[in-house]
Every structure is written in C-alpha cells, then in structure tokens.
C-alpha cells in the first residue's frame, strides 16, 4: 500500500469513523449522565478530545469553518450563561438560586411525581452548560497551544 493510500485511509478513518464515534459517545455521556456514570464535565472533555483528534490528524483547515476560535469562545460563554441562567431563572420565579423545582413548567410533570421532572430538567440544563463550557475551554486551549508558530495561517481572525 502506497503512502498516499495510507494517508487517504487515515483521513477516512478519522473523518468518517473515529471522530463521529467519539462525538456520539460524548453526546451519549451527556444525555445519559443522569442514569449512568458521566455528566457534563466528562461529556465536554470527550467532545473536545474528538475535535482535537480531528485537528491533529486532518489539520485545522478542514474543521475551521465550523469550530473557529470565535465560535468556540461563543460556545464557552453560552455554556456559562446557560448554567447561571438556569439558576437565575429559578430565582425569577421565587425560588432560591439554582433551585430548579421553582421553575414553573408544570406541563413537564408527566413522568415523575411532583416537581421531580422539573428538577431533572434543571439538572440537565446545568449539565449542558458545563459540557459546553468545558468543551469550548479545552478546544480553545488546544487550538492556541498547537497553533502554527508565526501566525501565518490565520489571516481571517486578525
């Protein structure tokens, strides 16, 4: 097998098999975190690992249109806003800060008795926030640390 074919195989494996699998597992850890080991922090780390793997093998150009630095900063701040916003939302409706049971979404209470479904939704919102923040932070750090030396490749950001 020639070197060109090996490179094509590597690109195919990373682009079509490994990165989607890792990303899907990260999403599974995120949405299944209330039932199985996992949660926002782990899910964000796994998602960032998948993105960094694709950066390391395929180069930054291929993914830069989706996850540019600006997008990653927006994602990180969005995660923080989601976390604090869930707490403040509970406060606006008369509960304590981060007291999810106070959020008046009674139509959600179909699966579990009382306010438990709302509590689950609050926990889920917070986990999404943590996952986004961790994902953005780790990806940003890796992006800046593995950036090309003299800044010759990113002319669009400055």
């Amino acid at each position: 097998m020639s070197e060109r074919h090996e490179s094509a195989l590597l690109h195919f494996m990373v682009r079509a098999v490994m990165t989607p699998a890792i990303m899907l597992y990260g999403l599974y850890v995120l949405v299944h975190g209330e039932l199985s080991p996992g949660g926002g922090f782990q899910a964000g780390a796994i998602l960032a690992a998948g993105l960094i793997l694709s950066w390391l093998t395929l180069g930054r150009k291929s993914e830069s249109s989706i996850f540019s630095r600006r997008t990653l900063i927006v994602v990180t701040v969005l995660g923080m806003v989601l976390y604090t916003g869930t707490g403040i939302l509970a406060m606006l409706f008369g509960g304590d800060y981060l007291d999810y049971g106070a959020i008046p979404l009674e139509w959600l209470d179909y699966a579990l008795p009382g306010e438990l479904t709302r509590r689950q939704m609050g926990v889920f919102g917070i986990e999404i926030g943590v996952a986004l923040a961790v994902f953005g932070t780790l990806s940003l750090a890796a992006d800046y640390l593995t950036a090309p030396r003299s800044g010759d490749e990113e002319g669009e950001e400055q």
Partner: protein, 81 residues
Amino acid sequence: MIWQLEMALYALLLAAAVLALWTRDLIAAVATLTIYSFLAATLMALMGAVDVALTEIALGAGVTGVLFIGAVSLMKRRSVD
C-alpha cells in the same frame, strides 16, 4: 485475584511516574505521563469510582497530553534539563 491485579497496577503506576521524572526527552515524558493517567484511571474504575475514572481517561490521558505536547513544542529547549 483482584488484589494481585491491583498490586501489579500499582507497581506499573509507580514505574510510569518514576520514568516520567527520569527521562530526558520531554515528549517521552508526556507519553509516560499519559500511561500513568491511564493506569490511574484503571485503578479508579477497579475501586468503583467510574465517574472519576471517566474524567481521568478523557482529561488525563486525552486532552492533557495534547496540551503538554503543544506547550513543549512552544518551548525553545526541548530535552536538556
């Protein structure tokens, strides 16, 4: 059976930690540190702390290695101590 396995893992953990300190090549030290993280995560999973093991795998063995290698590649001197 399980405690012999744990003892072997502890020995490997210690060896990986000492090797990461001992080696002169910084990239090799980062690789050894990744092995250390993996062994530590295995031990945590054996102890039943699956959440911590998952975090250790994803952060210690995955992202931290990349960050360390990025930081090493930014340094002027690679392997002289």
